[in-house]
């Protein structure tokens, strides 16, 4: 299964995503430059963390206009799996591929910390390899990760089982402890914590592999 890692000029977790997939998961990964109009035949797309175009405006506000995002939109519309991590989540929200918004952490500071996530649904290509309710340890590293949406949207996400992960101890003030959400079709996941930073014991946790292994199970072209 071939992963594409989108590289915006200010992406800084692109190498980490590539390393997690290529070395720790053992699947090929390639970089896709932000002005590329196509995704060159990858099976899954990762929007990595970072500061896409500096993010001096709202995070992701400029990235949604980049050429590659048109290709990502089409890829998602065709059912291709898209994983947005941290800044990638912010971009997906700005691009309208996921509902709600991500605003500054409640304490108004950047927070880098390991958190615990509760897996809320197994009904997605990103979580199918998890145990029901499985607690996953992985780090967050963001200044603007407080998830907000109107009550109706939050109710809808819950009713449609589209909250993939919630924080066990809410670090940033996210409404209803939301850490990661799915689109209606369940092929796009945005999450603030970094699964790619939890893919081997030396990183302190391997729990992030659950997300990547689920993807492989669901989408590997040769899988039965």
């Amino acid at each position: 299964m071939k992963f594409g890692v989108i590289v915006f000029p200010g992406s800084n977790c692109d190498h980490d995503a590539w390393f997690a997939v290529n070395r720790n998961l053992g699947h090929p990964a390639e970089y896709i430059w932000h002005d590329s109009p196509t995704l060159s035949g990858v099976d899954a797309v990762i929007l990595p963390g970072g500061f896409a175009y500096g993010d001096y405006l709202r995070c992701g506000a400029i990235a949604k206009f980049s050429p590659v995002m048109a290709a990502v939109r089409k890829f998602a519309a065709d059912g291709g799996p898209v994983l947005g991590i941290c800044n990638g989540f912010q971009i997906l929200v700005e691009a309208g591929l996921l509902p709600g918004a991500l605003i500054r952490n409640r304490n108004l500071k950047f927070i880098c910390r390991e958190v615990r996530l509760r897996t809320e649904t197994l009904d997605s290509p990103f979580t199918s390899a998890a145990e029901p309710g499985q607690i996953l340890r992985m780090p967050i590293a963001h200044g603007e990760g407080c998830y907000i949406a109107d009550e109706r949207t939050l109710d809808e996400l819950a009713a449609e089982d589209r909250v993939a992960f919630r924080y066990v101890e809410n670090p940033n003030g996210s409404m209803r402890d939301v850490a990661g959400i799915l689109n209606a079709r369940r092929n796009v996941l945005g999450l603030m914590p970094h699964p790619e930073r939890a893919t081997e014991p030396l990183m302190g946790s391997s729990d992030g592999l659950v997300v990547f292994r689920s993807l492989v199970m669901a989408f590997q072209p040769t899988a039965a």
Partner: protein, 742 residues
Amino acid sequence: MSTVAITPDLVAQHQLAESEYRKIVSILGREPNYTELGIFSVMWSEHCSYKSSRLHLKKLPTRGKLVVQGPGENAGIVDVGGGYVIAFKIESHNHPSFIEPFQGAATGVGGILRDIFTMGARPIAVLDSLRFGPLNDAQAGPRNRRILQGVVAGIAHYGNCFGVPTVGGECVFEPCYNGNPLVNVFALGVAKKDDIFYARAAGIGNPVIYVGAKTGRDGIHGASMASAEFTEESKQKRPNVQVGDPFLEKLLLEACLEAMQTGAIVGIQDMGAAGLTCSTCEMGSRGGTGIEIELDLVPQRETGMTPYEIMLSESQERMLLVAAKGREDEVFQVFRKWGLDAVTIGQVTADGLLRVRQHGQVVAEIPNRELADEAPLYDRPHTESPVRPCPEGTHPSPARELMPPQQALLALLASGDICSKRYIWEQYDYQVRTNTLAGPGADAAIVRIKENGVSIAMSLDGNSRYGYLSPREGAMLAVAESCRNLAAVGALPVAATNCLNFGNPERPEIMGQLVAAIEGLGDACRFFDTPITGGNVSLYNETLGEGIWPTPVIGIVGLMPTAAPVTMDFKAPGRSIILLGGLGNCDETRFGGTQYAKVILKELWGLPPALDMDYEKRVHDAMREIVAAGLAESAHDLSDGGLAVAAAECCLGGVGAALHFESDLSPEFLLFHEGPSRILISTANPDGVAEIAARHAVEAPRVGITMNSALAIRNRDATLVIAKIDSLNAIYEGSLENQLRS
């Protein structure tokens, strides 16, 4: 040519002495014009020329078998095996951080990162050494709190966006930093040994290319500002502080590393202090060449800038490079891809001159070598630091009623220097690049190099209380502690960088501190085999005539095989606890520099703890062998606060300890003396540890056993400490935020 008349007043305003001006005239064979005066003034500022310290810095050891590049380049370089090298250096941004904490600290990070990647190395770690006035200072407290928050946010802003992990550092509070906070930033990068780039302008006729941000009027005379004391008027210098753009720096990083791969780049240097002036003349001087530039070609942010302003601007995120003639397009193509300006502004010449033109007219013409390397050199008068006597009635004295040891321990755990700095380091992305094996809070930070299976351990240390009592011994103790931190995680120290923060060197007692500290550093670094490959000197850290205490900060890097690191937390109950190095000894002359004396007695006297370097080194060797044999479940070096604080810190992970001593030392000396050469270990194999220690002729008494949920310390029949870990944790973790809220 400029028409501004050069008067003695104008020369004085440029902080050039009369003798220095005469030297300029003799170099040029004529009077300088205004632009040339400005150029000389920044290049010959203390910050750029090291004119007070150079003579003494020569005494430092700089060579070693792994050293590829010593001082004199943008960063030192050390071979780490497998075809890879590391480039690293520490720099200060003290003055700007006082005037504008957020941008001052942010651009401090930006500057040192450029020093690293200009050598072809991708930055993989940053550490910062911070010093502020006390947060609860009666007068300066509110300002100190604001400066700390601004500095931390600035470092976070720049490092996080750029994508380099901030993996460690230190933060210390003393009244002497009320008007002079210290912000020292260390950065380390990794490169292939065959892909190192140097800041040399070679090849007559090769194009000189300007890349990165446009030049504005910001930061003019920043280097000179950093070479003067602060006065009441200093706040007016805020426009001298530059504004950083970490996103642009990230683009510059990627573009430079990619352009270097083309093979078309001959030499490259960042524009930091003294901007275009420094980068042109230093590259020319190192290459033995001249450089000719046309200022009309320099990308400018505003109109109507004078040659003086363009040459002295310290706008951030700019680089100067020399490319191979005819291959400019390969370079331009890369920078275009990253959306950056890249313009040929001149060429390398054979005449050794820095020739600056504007509108075709020559506006400055100065020999590169004299400008860059012939700065005045001063052997300033210096006096020995006096011994600070032990005041009458000071500890230990029956006349003085002492705090119960347990209460003292809790007070120390809550004190600014010792308490948890989580509030600070959680604002830093300390994990990006997924190489961080040990991050903030550890004895030494560890990052792995994915390519060659080697990990780099790093530690920054300095103790200005010790430095105040004895600049020489204080510097040696800093080196010893840094090396001990590395030993505690099993790493072998291989090289060092230093940042020397002092007051006004024109005062003999301050100059005496500087000279003694350099000698101490030199002796210790020679002994521990850690050559100093570069660094920074920051003088004139004074406000209204009040200088800081001598604050040499040492950064030592060490090597170890990539593996799960040994950390300080006790791991399981029932394990033996061994005090490698032994209890040590202490008397009242060596107790006045301790944290106990600071926090509990509120005094400072005598001499710093006594250091036996030979014994210290044996402790390190034993420790590394214990780690290599897999015998250390946990390890933590004893430093600030001594034995009791170290033991408490080992318990904070949740597993406690019962310690029992049979010592003649008074409880205060036993628990809180800061004698070096000691590491607290927990192990499942005490005999194995004892055997290794004995072989190195190092004491290794078994002092207790790990247990659940509490810390108990007894000496003979007296219980000195008995505390629940939860309560220790609450005090240790909550203190800094409480102080910031007050």
